[in-house]
Symmetry: C2
Subunit: 251 residues, 2 copies
């Protein structure tokens, strides 16, 4: 319970107690510096590089020192994520049609995950209840203004839209993580397995898979842009929401 209070205070009051009359030894770091070191490390080497030991090392300090500034690792991750949310650009387009507004929201999230792929791999449940998330939530809900949706449906639609963007980003983060772990690209992974696979694979047993898999594989090999699944999916998502909003979305 006091733990809850502690973390929420850290989120909302990044500067802590007012300066001046403080008793003991002077702190050598700040919460902000710890959070920034975590973000920088995650950006550079991925979330799995963010260990308490490694963050401490980046700050020239012994691991346990971090626990003076942050209750535990999960709180640090919360602070990192809310910080990203807080820094997202939030352009308002009240005069644009709803589809463009939703596409903009999706694009903002997409950009977040492109810049910080690790953010997509954090669980969406029990989010950081900080100023970043609140500003993001407020902003994104307003993109659904004048769509004729009741509040519960508005929230569900936003969750659906955001969830799609995060899922797409997770897939791409999975690919990158596997490439970093193994040192070989996805393309090399498939190329290495192709010959072995054909030895055990019966084309007549899986005719559709053979044909479609070959088409999809060569399309991917030829002019593959990694954002294709995202572009395709986003169009479907917006079409799906269009069927819900219908003509009620006047603008």
């Amino acid at each position: 319970m006091a733990e809850v209070r502690r973390t929420i205070d850290l989120l909302w009051f990044p500067d802590g107690e007012p300066e001046g009359k403080r008793r003991g030894r002077r702190p050598g770091l700040t919460v902000a510096r710890v959070v920034e070191a975590g973000i920088a490390l995650a950006d550079a080497e991925g979330l799995e590089a963010v260990s308490m030991r490694r963050v401490a090392q980046e700050l020239g300090v012994v691991p346990m020192t971090l626990y003076t500034y942050v209750p535990d690792k999960s709180a640090l991750l919360d602070l990192m994520l809310d910080r990203l949310y807080l820094e997202m650009p939030r352009a308002e387009h009240p005069d644009r049609p709803w589809r463009e507004r939703l596409a903009a929201v999706a694009g903002e999230n997409r950009r977040l995950y492109t810049t910080h792929p690790w953010a997509a791999t954090l669980p969406a449940s029990r989010p950081p209840l900080g100023p970043g998330l609140m500003a993001k939530y407020e902003h994104e809900l307003r993109a659904f203004d004048d769509c004729g949706l009741d509040d519960v449906t508005r929230d569900a639609a936003l969750t659906f839209l955001i969830g799609f963007v995060q899922a797409a980003a997770r897939s791409e983060a999975d690919v990158r993580a596997a490439e970093a772990r193994t040192g070989s690209t996805d393309f090399e992974w498939w190329q290495e397995r192709g010959p072995v696979f054909e030895l055990v694979f019966d084309q007549h047993r899986y005719p559709t898979a053979t044909r479609v898999g070959a088409a999809a594989g060569s399309a991917m090999g030829a002019a593959y842009e990694p954002g294709h699944a995202y572009e395709f999916g986003l169009a479907r998502v917006l079409d799906g929401l269009a069927a819900l909003i219908g003509t009620a979305g006047s603008r």
Copy 2:
């Protein structure tokens, strides 16, 4: 390279070498038993309980023994997942309209993840190239027959549909994992934070968030069914694919 061959052989030839004239000490286990122990453990206690030590313990054997049957842990996870795929029921409905066929495919995947939530948390890239995945892929592609989609689009549409179901299942798995880790439900988590949160939260600064969040929160507290986000999302996904398939999907 030989490693690749080894894993693919394990996937496609579960019984290994033919019985009879074998030289050394008789194996006390089989690959199948190891895989089944892994699945049982993941079903019972979640994927994070599936350590080599723990699986070995379930089989009454020392951890390193498993490495005789399985190259490493990631191969074990591949075998576990392909086994699930292989056992999925695959009812064909060639005479049904396309929307029902896609809904059936989604439902089959949904049921997989309901029964084995840990399967949704495994990365979708670099999948297990075994008989289970191939049968699943073939079956699910055929649900798109007579939709008028070219092969590349058919694959993209299937990936989109399956990706949505997996993402929804991941969210629910995240919730369950958090509940198992902390010992308190999501509802309790929000209840505990509510009072603290209101101390720092400015309702006038986030009017839409306040109103919609309260509506969504009380709707969730009142008559919440956990599958709501899935049902809502699936309807949007199918509507989105409908806009793509249009009237070309004759049946």
